[in-house]
């Protein structure tokens, strides 16, 4: 019986590094790696040469130095004698603030518009398409500038509110829209308000557990609880009881016209409102398209199958259509959030003091540490992006279709 043996392996030759597919990949990778290392080495070598020629060094000591400038929008106290590091922190919080407000508003706008675009009402659907096309096809920077010029030019100045023949008046006697910012009633926390807040938070936790219990009850015994009514009750009743038992500890401080400007209440900078609404309206148009695509992606057979099982329309939407539509909607939605956060760096154009305005703007210009400031700026945005995409990957894995 003839046996077949493997042909003898040819001895290794140098030309095999290029011609043999087994080794070629490794050769290419090593060449590419060396090229990259060489390229970055060249850049860093140049940078050290240039810095040495200018007598500069790379140092982050400037972060500990006195900033010497004021920030008009601050979530944590900041005075001009504080450090550049604290200024950067104020900027980071401002970025997160506008991103948070913008994401929530954009989601609401996007969902409403996306659903209305599919409306059977021809006029409503057309108006929503016009909104989407107008906002998607004009740069966000132009929207920011337009809304900012509404805030700073079209709104009345505080002195128009004064006197008997005032040309402007407050909305509901509580909110004043002026060209120096918007004044809204601010909450006043008195003694005992902590308990009210705690009760409110506890009732939210309670709602969560109620829903879990209701689901379990449904699966075990088939009994259905009126979850919506119970949740609403739990949401309002305990907090209201606590509020009145503690003697109304949370009050509202209304803005009042005193002298040349409004006093009291909560002042929202015009720049914040301009940035917030421009980003929300712009991103909302994109989210509307994602929502529409998501709803259209659920095939009609799913709705019909659910109806054939005897589910009512509300339940079809909640149990069959939405879970499938969300699987399509959520990933692009999160990347829109990411875009909104990155676009918030356009604050620099209207002087909203976010991280680009503080660290990447005034701090950079005052200290001349462009190298370090831009590097830190990138690092900050990179961290946010990676965090958000990490969350997105977790979500994607959770809702992924479990295939064979």
């Amino acid at each position: 019986m003839a046996s077949i043996s493997d042909p003898a392996q040819p001895a290794f030759r140098l030309s095999m590094l290029v011609n043999d597919t087994r080794y070629r990949g490794i050769t290419f990778q090593i060449i590419a790696f060396l090229a990259i290392v060489f390229f970055f080495g060249w850049l860093i070598w140049n940078a050290t040469q240039n810095l040495a020629a200018l007598g500069q060094d790379i140092s982050y000591k400037f972060l500990g130095e006195q900033a010497g400038y004021d920030i008009n929008q601050q979530l944590i106290p900041f005075v001009s004698t504080d450090t550049h590091f604290r200024a950067a922190m104020v900027g980071i919080l401002n970025t997160l603030l506008v991103a948070f407000l913008g994401c929530i508003t954009a989601t609401i706008i996007g969902v409403v518009v996306g659903v209305l675009r599919l409306s059977k009402n021809w006029l409503v659907a057309k108006v929503m398409s016009v909104y989407v096309e107008i906002f998607r096809n004009v740069p966000v920077l132009i929207w920011i500038l337009i809304i900012f010029s509404v805030m700073s030019n079209a709104l009345p100045s505080p002195r128009d509110f004064r006197g008997d023949n005032a040309t402007a008046s407050m909305v509901f006697d509580a909110m004043a829209f002026t060209n120096r910012g918007v004044y809204v009633p601010g909450p006043v926390w008195e003694a005992g308000s902590g308990i009210v807040v705690a009760v409110f938070l506890a009732s939210i936790v309670g709602i969560f557990f109620l829903r879990r219990y209701a689901t379990k009850l449904l699966y075990d015994t088939g009994r259905e609880l009126p979850v919506l009514q119970l949740s609403l009750g739990l949401f309002f009743v305990p907090a209201l009881i606590a509020y009145f038992v503690m003697g109304s500890p949370i009050g509202l401080d209304y803005p009042e016209l005193k002298g040349f400007n409004f006093q009291g209440g909560l002042k929202v900078q015009g720049t914040l409102i301009a940035l917030w609404w421009a980003l929300a309206l712009y991103t909302g148009a994109f989210i509307a398209e994602n929502v529409r695509a998501g709803i259209l992606a659920v095939s009609k057979g799913q709705t019909e199958a659910a109806a054939a099982l005897g589910l009512r329309p509300g339940k079809i939407m909640r149990l069959v259509v939405l879970p499938q539509a969300l699987r399509v909607i959520i990933p692009p939605l999160i990347s829109q959030y990411l875009n909104l956060t990155k676009n918030s760096s356009l604050a620099a154009a209207i002087g909203y003091m976010d991280i680009t305005g503080t660290l990447g703007g005034i701090t950079l210009n005052q200290t001349g540490r462009s190298f370090e400031a831009v590097l830190l700026l990138m690092l900050f945005y990179l961290m946010i992006s990676l965090a958000i995409s990490g969350v997105m990957n977790l979500y994607n894995n959770a809702v992924k279709l479990k295939e064979r």
Partner: protein, 432 residues
């Protein structure tokens, strides 16, 4: 016919003629009923929407229509309007050259316009497949021609650059038989060598013999919408090939190549464009050999290209991933090597799938070119915010100028998106 008990009083022999549908179901009224007033809720929505549209139009239309077109300053506008709240279009009338061309020398506007018009000639064969394929030759020549027209100077520099490309191409064709990738590398090396070593002396020598020069225009004189257009088109054109390479790299089985591409893509996508522009304007000078100082415009083009390439790569990766695995395996079973398989089988299909996302990125990039106004380049927004609004004549004319810029962008972006939808329908080969 009728007999006995079985008599029938009446038998219809021919069918009833069809009746016109009821008035409430057809024509305008029917349409209104089904589309606008199908239920009480819908009727209320329709009425609210109509009111909102009316309120918006009542505010905007008179403002636009009553605008003043002939004035030399905002004060004259206000005098002519006599308290009526209307637009001052005179600012557009007077400053449109600045908005469109920046500080480009007025006597050379013709050159810029010619470059702009020729762009459409060059794009036509790429965008519409029905046109003669020979027109692609012009598309290949266009970048060099446009550079010469806009920046001026001697024609020999772009010609030599073109010769470099030809040299690279010849090298590629000579080596293509042996290995596609190797030929590409060799071609690139040959072209680079030609550009670095031979271009400057050859161009100088030839310019000595036959000048063929236009008045040079410096980059800082270019401004207005022209900058947005130059950055947008060059960014899109350059980022597409780079994006394809990055996408292939990210899908590659070679770990180091893959890692390099992933790091690059995730880094660029993780930071806002404005920080990359900061890098271009303040940091890039540090990373170049001492003494080199190249144009801010070129630096911004590089950054914009890198930025867009990362997004293009993700779009194309989506297309590559959406392609059934059988296509890759079919390529392998035919005995094609990696580059043949990609070029002939995978990429044509993957690119078709990714057209919508590529177009979205192109529109996004074009819109993002307005960001250069923040690093004090005078694009259309920079022109509005800088020289025009800070001039004493036009202090405070926001709406008209921003509206003008907005309309310019809307026209181009909406046009691109309509084209992409047309293309998608045209390329659809599946039967639905």
């Amino acid at each position: 016919m009728s007999q006995g008990d079985h008599s029938v009083a009446f038998v219809r022999h021919d069918p009833l003629p069809p009746q016109a549908p009821p008035v409430s179901q057809a024509g305008v009224i029917g349409w209104l009923r089904t589309n606008l007033f199908s239920s009480i809720g819908n009727s209320i929505m329709t009425l609210i929407t109509l009111y909102v549209i009316y309120a918006l139009l009542a505010a905007i239309v008179p403002w636009i229509a009553n605008g003043v077109w002939d004035a030399s300053s905002i004060r004259e506008c206000r005098e002519q309007l006599q308290g009526v709240n209307a637009a001052c279009w005179a600012v557009i009338e007077e400053r449109w050259p600045q908005l469109v061309f920046g500080n480009y020398p007025p006597e050379h506007y013709g050159r810029a316009v010619l470059a702009f018009v020729l762009l459409f000639v060059a794009l036509a064969p790429v965008l519409y497949f029905g046109l003669p394929r020979k027109m692609l030759w012009f598309t290949g020549l266009y970048p060099f021609l446009a550079y010469w027209l806009i920046w001026g100077g001697t024609l020999w520099i772009p010609i030599m650059a073109l010769v470099g490309v030809v040299v690279g191409f010849v090298v590629f064709r000579l080596l293509e038989e042996k290995s596609f990738f190797g030929a590409m590398v060799a071609a690139l090396a040959a072209a680079l060598a030609f550009w670095i070593v031979l271009t400057a002396p050859l161009a100088e020598a030839l310019a000595g013999v036959l000048p063929l020069a236009l008045t040079p225009v410096a980059s800082r004189e270019i401004g207005g919408f022209m900058i947005n257009f130059i950055l947008g088109t060059s960014g899109i054109a350059l980022s597409l090939p780079l994006g394809i390479m990055l996408a292939l790299g990210r899908q590659s089985t070679l770990p180091i190549i893959k890692m390099i591409c992933v790091i690059f893509i995730e880094f660029v996508r993780g930071v806002p464009l404005i920080t990359l522009l900061f890098v271009a304007s303040v940091m890039l000078a540090y990373f170049l050999p001492p003494g080199t100082n190249f144009d801010l415009m070129l630096r911004v083009i590089i950054m914009v290209t890198l930025f867009a390439a990362a997004y293009m790569a993700e779009a194309i990766r989506g297309g590559l991933a959406a392609l059934p695995k059988g296509q890759y395996e079919a390529g392998d079973s035919l005995g094609l090597d990696y580059w043949q398989k990609m070029r002939l089988i995978v990429l044509p299909q993957a690119l078709k799938i990714s057209i919508p996302s590529i177009v979205n990125i192109a529109i996004g990039l074009f819109k993002d070119t307005t960001l250069v106004s923040i690093i004090s380049m005078f694009d259309v927004i920079g022109m509005i915010r800088g020289p025009i609004l800070s001039s004493t004549e036009w202090f405070g004319v926001y709406w008209e100028l921003l509206g003008f810029a907005g309309v310019l962008f809307f026209v181009f972006c909406y046009g691109i998106s309509q084209y992409s939808q047309w293309l998608e329908r045209k390329l659809a080969t599946d039967h639905r």
